[in-house]
């Protein structure tokens, strides 16, 4: 791994941590504030691609594990991995990887703006919603003994918010790609 890739991953990890410290930002059209940290995971994949995005997310979790309050709401320490929602934290790693991998495949420089944004959105939904919830719900089902169906129903309330985050991540990902392209091209 080149020094530049290492630094990019570390800087993005710092952005994800900072997104957890900042006050929630209001979207224009719905009166719900969005907490930006879980969007940072999708952004990592969309902006940095699979490898560097995954490392950025791993760094955030590593910082939390070694006792730094880097997760939103000032959470940190090994205790955060004892919650029933730990599967979502573990899922972050795979969410960033899948989002990044698919972004590298779907989005090409030759495409128009709409198509690029759509590609990023599809990647963010596949990674940041489908893969993330697969991990989160399976873990919740096992740890709580609720079973998959009930765990799924209980988690559904959060899916609309995450779809909105995927849309914002797609728009932001394309804007960053235009301003400062970093996504590795894949044939």
């Amino acid at each position: 791994m080149s020094t530049r890739d290492l630094v990019l991953s570390a800087l993005f990890a710092a952005i994800i941590v900072a997104l957890g410290l900042l006050p929630p930002i209001m979207l224009g059209f719905i009166p719900v504030p969005i907490t930006a940290q879980s969007m940072g995971v999708m952004l990592a994949g969309v902006i940095l691609g699979a490898k560097r995005g995954t490392i950025a997310v791993l760094l955030v979790l590593l910082l939390a594990a070694i006792g730094l309050p880097v997760l939103s709401g000032g959470r940190g320490g090994l205790a955060v991995f004892a919650a029933p929602t730990t599967g979502f934290l573990i899922g972050w790693v795979f969410a960033a990887f899948v989002t990044g991998y698919l972004s590298e495949r779907f989005v090409k420089n030759s495409q128009g703006a709409m198509l690029q944004t759509a590609g990023f959105f599809a990647a963010a939904v596949a990674g940041g919603v489908v893969v993330l919830y697969a991990f989160g719900i399976s873990y919740l089902a096992v740890v709580s003994g609720l079973g998959l169906t009930k765990a799924f129903v209980g988690s559904m309330a959060f899916i609309p918010g995450d779809l909105v985050k995927a849309a914002v991540a797609a728009l932001a990902g394309r804007a960053v790609m235009v301003g400062y392209p970093l996504l590795p091209a894949r044939a």
């Binding site: 791994m1 630094v7 570390a10 800087l11 006792g67 309050p69 090994l78 205790a79 004892a82």
Partner: protein, 206 residues
């Protein structure tokens, strides 16, 4: 950013981090092997005693665990209502104990010891070329160094919005924040290489 380590000289403070982490794994496995509410209740009590003996004060100790305890309580309540009362109690006691023991390890182990432990655990992977163990500490240091920087960049963006009478929107905050931050990567990487911090071996492919 202040770490969750608490100064002290308890027995747990003096134990080596490696042993603490191994004990934590053993405790978590043991907690999932038993389903007896009495045994889990005893374990939760012991966990609370352990956590309480670290000398960080009630308020601090409670504030740290409150968000995690809240999710555990919500899920335990759901289990209790949707399945059986016993299952709900088992979930509550099991996860609460695990949380207490994990928080005790965090409170008694300084960040530096954790990094040392992780780096030495990564050495075998270094030999097969998967990671460079010293990169882990370097990357962690970089993140800690740059979080305040990102926050102050956000503050500048917020003031710029205010000065122009604009509301903060995700797009108008995240995009400039990300581009500004990531643009400094080349300079930082050059500074790291110029100082030979990662050794003078030629960088690996990719």
């Amino acid at each position: 950013m202040r770490s969750l380590y608490v100064e002290g000289d308890s027995r747990l403070h003096r134990l080596s981090p490696r042993i603490k982490l191994i004990l934590l794994i053993v405790v978590s496995l043991a907690l999932f092997l038993t389903r007896s509410p009495i045994m889990l209740g005893g374990a939760a009590f012991a966990g609370a005693l352990l956590y309480g003996s670290l000398g960080m004060g009630w308020r601090e100790g409670w504030l740290r665990l409150r968000p995690i305890l809240l999710t555990i309580a919500v899920v335990a309540l759901a289990t209790l209502m949707l399945n059986t009362v016993e299952e709900g109690v088992v979930v509550l006691l099991r996860l609460t104990t695990l949380m207490l023991v994990a928080a005790a390890v965090t409170a008694t182990t300084p960040v530096g010891s954790f990094i040392g432990e992780i780096s030495s655990a990564a050495r075998p992977f270094e030999r097969i070329g998967l990671v460079r163990a010293d990169d882990i500490g370097l990357a962690v240091g970089l993140v800690i160094r740059f979080v305040p920087e990102v926050v102050s960049r956000y503050e500048i963006l917020r003031q710029a919005h205010r000065a122009r009478g604009l509301k903060l929107r995700p797009m108008t905050v995240i995009v400039p924040l990300t581009i500004q931050t990531l643009k400094s990567a080349d300079e930082i990487a050059a500074a790291i290489d110029a100082r030979g911090i990662r050794g003078h071996k030629p960088p690996s492919r990719s």
